[in-house]
Amino acid sequence: MKRLTIIVLIALFSMIGCKKTNDQFKVAFVYVGSVNDGGWTASHDEGRLEIEKMFPDVQTSYVENVPEGAEAERIITTFAKKGFNVIFTASFGFMDPTINVAKKFPETVFMHCSGYKRAENVGTYFGRMYQAKYLAGIVAGKMTVTNKIGYIAPHPIPEVIRHINAFTLGARKVNPEASVRVIWTNSWFDIQKEKEAAYSLIEVGTDILASGCDSSAALVVAEEKGVKCIGYDSDARAVAKNTFLTAPMWNWISVYADIVGKAKNKEISDYTNVDYWNGLETNVIKLAPLSDLVPQDVKNIVTDTTQLIIQGEEKIFTGPLKKQDGSDFLSENEVADDGTLLSMMFFVEGVNGVIPLN
């Protein structure tokens, strides 16, 4: 037994020599979900793969299913220690870990998705997803028969609430009778909870399911129950061939390519003011092609509205708007500014649901 141990130890140490090194430009991605979730993380990973194609001299790596907390800090640190030049952290809960690690690695560029804390080497990026949610809302409003639309929502934070509100405004613009029923899963990625929420929404009579969560679980349920559905993050129509309407989607490649390109050439020295927050005009967000279930007239409305939003003629949060409790939100022709949108903690009229204690 002892001899065996010694032999194995020698074998282990003799392998020391075979470590590889390289001086490539390295880009890392830290994901909260798994790359095949058919949603949020999948959309980021598509961006990563595109980066590899666009920049042959750039090497990428990722870690998936990273819990939002101290664990994330270790993984981000390991990336930085391994000499990665740009590190993308793609979930809201990675905000503080990203900032903490960034302090220790001033030479590394950190880009955090959906947060608001920046530093000299930490920028942020996101997209005006609410515009695509609004378009999806229009489709839902037109297609619903029972006038009840279900929405499966992750965390009750401004980002998600903004999306639900925009979705509701879209639905009620074309169908003032429509209401949107919200169920929280309190998790970005939880297939079981998303499924349960989908079942209970169908139970209470919603005939269109929209997901705001990271996986395509709700679409699977919708397909099983024969209820029309709207996905999120990625085009996952494959899992709901007979019921899929559309999906507001992320298309990160434009953002990622821009950041990686600039970071390679060291164009930006201070990231304190680097915040990508673009809308339909840059393709970072878009609506997945409408399926054949959607009639032509609805398709036309969506196309027209898209154009109006891109040209800046239609702003989604424009008065008169009322909050869910009936009080005034925006007066006639008043347009909500970005600050209001970023701190939105209330529902608009037409949402049927509660924002848990805040």
């Binding site: 020391i16 101290a70 664990e71 848990p356 204690l357």
Partner: protein
Amino acid sequence: MIIFGYYIVLKKKLRTSQSSRFFALFSGVVLSLILSGFIFLLNKTNPFEVFTSSFFAIFGSLYGITETFLIAIPIAACALAVGVAAMIKIWNIGAEGQFVAGALGAGISGVYFSFLPSGLLIPLMFTSGILFSMILGVIPGILKAMLNVNEILVTLMLNYMATLFMLFLLYGPLKGLDNFPYSKYIPDNTFLPLLFSSRLHVGVFIVIIIAIILYFFMKKSIWGYELRVLGESYKAARYAGIGVKRNIILIMVISAAIAGVGGILEVIGVQHRLQPSIAQGYGFTGIIVSWLSKNNPLTTLWVSFLIAGLFVSGSDMQISYSLPTSIIKVFQGIVFLSILASDIFTDYYISLEKK
């Protein structure tokens, strides 16, 4: 089983030692590396490269070692907790919940009494954390002692209660900034001091001290002797005048408190706030570690370190070789399984006997 006219027989070793435990574990590790090597090959990665890289991820730098210690702390606390109870044949499956309760106690007092000077606040966080976790220990203890309710079920269920209660607080009254399920940070003058300018905090010594105290208490003290008798047979213990009920409750409370200390250290040493991912299954990993270390507190320490290394190397494999998490999970599963299977060679050896 008969091979070439020989019987393969398992024979009990006359005496077991730390070194036989180490070699059993080591053979398990080697077996698991061979098995998982094939999995990596299927993923078109060179298993030797993966293993060396992970080895260096853990032992190759001060950073790797400190990070491994950092994960070993909560695992060791939970394993020690499970081990104390297992000494008298009480199966505490609730270390996870008791860990969460400890974290809750520390977090709640840290957030709500943040105005206190750190000299008062740190003891308060420890006391309330320990008290919270003791509640989760005293319930199954009393139920077991008085009504003979199965402690496995009670402690298991209490895990969910503790975790859900924490989630309720995080989504409600404890919710901090951003409306995200995080509590506010505890005041930074209560953070535990860090070692070697890494993330490793002095809590590591607390766990080591607990293990040493437990070791001497179990081996040398009169009460430890009573408990060992109790572990062998409740009837014999009762006959010898050892209070069975009293000891069951006491041990459950002590066990819970040790797991609770793990939770407290996690809050004031690492996370500095409460958040849903605080426990991450440490309590369940602790059960495996306690089983592997045969309730020896000192063995528990280094087994915890090895298991923690397994987690650290898991993330390194993803970073360096872009392996999906599912492969890492399979790898870790194989390691656990092989180690548990090889555990039998701690006490037994194989011998071939002629017919």
